[in-house]
């Protein structure tokens, strides 16, 4: 990163980026919850040209047994890029990059899930990148947290994720592919909006201290926007049919076999 050169103008005279955005503008984000029937919870995210599916299974019995934690559940993520997700065919299977992303995503989600409710169990999260265009770890984490909530897993809050970075000497939010490839730096951030905690923070490339602070704030601001869209996606899934009556069954109703 930063080492590569290009004749693409990452920022034009009018302060517009390659895809016409301003430095403060994010790519359009669309989230759909509950798209997979077989999974306990799922979400589909379209973020610019990124297309990411996330599926959650569990809490379920943890295999292999020696991985079980007798006091809490394990959140196990698997991030995978489809062979057709990038221009050149991506060689299928786990590699160093996807292992790293799986690990940091698991850790970010473990922080918000009430793992102590499910001792010895495992909550499995699968993130499949169908189409990649920079920022897939953020899109993956965003999708995964919606899928977890959709699965009914008890958690403290959703995790929202967004990146910021620097390209053409300007700090900007949510880098696209060209900006990521030919820009100077990229900072993906995972954020818990309610408590303002950061659960994922990485940096690739070089930034001055001022640029870093500016970028981080931009990313957090982006996360807050992502959070609203996540909440909306979850509510939308049930809103249309959530006007019902028999829900408030009296205490004890529904207990025992009729």
């Amino acid at each position: 990163m930063g080492g590569m050169t290009t004749d693409i103008k990452l920022l034009d005279e009018n302060g517009r980026r390659v895809d016409g955005r301003t430095p403060e503008e994010m790519r359009p984000l669309r989230i759909e919850a509950g798209v997979l029937k077989r999974a306990d919870g799922s979400a589909y995210v379209e973020w610019g040209l990124n297309k990411v599916l996330a599926a959650v299974y569990g809490p379920r019995e943890c295999h292999p047994r020696h991985m079980q934690n007798p006091t809490r559940a394990l959140v196990q993520c698997k991030y995978n890029m489809a062979a057709f997700s990038v221009d050149d065919r991506k060689r299928p299977g786990p590699d160093r990059r996807s292992q790293e992303i799986s690990k940091i995503t698991s850790e970010a989600l473990t922080h918000v899930v009430f793992t102590e409710y499910f001792p010895r169990a495992s909550i499995d999260v699968y993130i499949e990148v169908l189409q990649a265009n920079a920022g897939t770890r953020c899109a993956g984490l965003t999708a995964a947290s919606v899928a977890l909530a959709d699965a009914g897993v008890p958690m403290r809050d959703l995790v929202a994720s967004c990146a910021a970075g620097k390209a053409a000497g300007t700090v900007m939010v949510d880098l696209g592919k060209e900006e990521d490839n030919f820009g100077e730096a990229d900072i993906p951030v995972g954020y818990v909006p309610r408590t303002k905690e950061i659960v994922l923070l990485q940096m690739d490339g070089d930034l001055t201290q001022d640029e870093y602070v500016k970028g981080l704030n931009m990313a957090i601001h982006g996360c807050e926007k992502v959070y609203e869209i996540q909440r909306d996606a979850l509510k939308r899934r049930y809103e249309a049919r959530a006007l019902d009556t028999d829900i408030a069954a009296p205490e004890g109703a529904g207990k025992g076999v009729a």
Partner: protein, 230 residues
Amino acid sequence: MQASDSKEASREIVVPGDLLDSSGKEPGPGTYTEGRNIYAAQLGIKTVRQNVVGVVPLSGQYMPERGDMVVGKIEDVSASNWLVDINAPYPAPLHVNEVPWRVEFGETRKFMVPGDVVLLKVVGVDETRRIQVSMNEHGLRKLTGGMILDISPSKVPRIIGKNGSMIQMLKNATGCRIYVGQNGRIWIDGELDDIIKAVKAVKLIEEEAHNVGLTEKIKKLLEEGSRKGE
């Protein structure tokens, strides 16, 4: 329509992390607290009953509780235990002392084999979530014949209805024998046509669990079916 509009206001969907109350009410199921604030821990519908704020989940795994009736499938057999899948995150061993027959050591296979379906009661869940199930109670037994239907465990209360009204209606209209396990497994037995009708109704309930006029819809579906049958 007007009736549903007035109810809309009270059916608020909440997302994990939503603030439910900060006026000092009691936290109910599906919530967590921080200081005086109560937050939602699950995706669900906010409910306030007297002084308790809770969340009725819209999805989620079955978590066994003491006293639950469940429909289980025998998964494995050992010398003094059957391992039963009760659709929970944890396995449920059924000990030979917990069945209504006298079973000699090592003769467990003579009574039940993998694939058999049983009606059980959860008699204990400890803090490490180890489960004990029993078949030693009136009405609990091995289920033969019929069919099993899996639904989302969070929809079980809708299938049963207020004080069992929904399930009673189903039974009366179809003439089927039906057991609804708390774990989201339903066992249905009867004449083939009746079973098909019951399955249709159960699926509709699951799909439209949170819609207005669910009972009416089901009633209509069941009546339609019986008219055609005559």
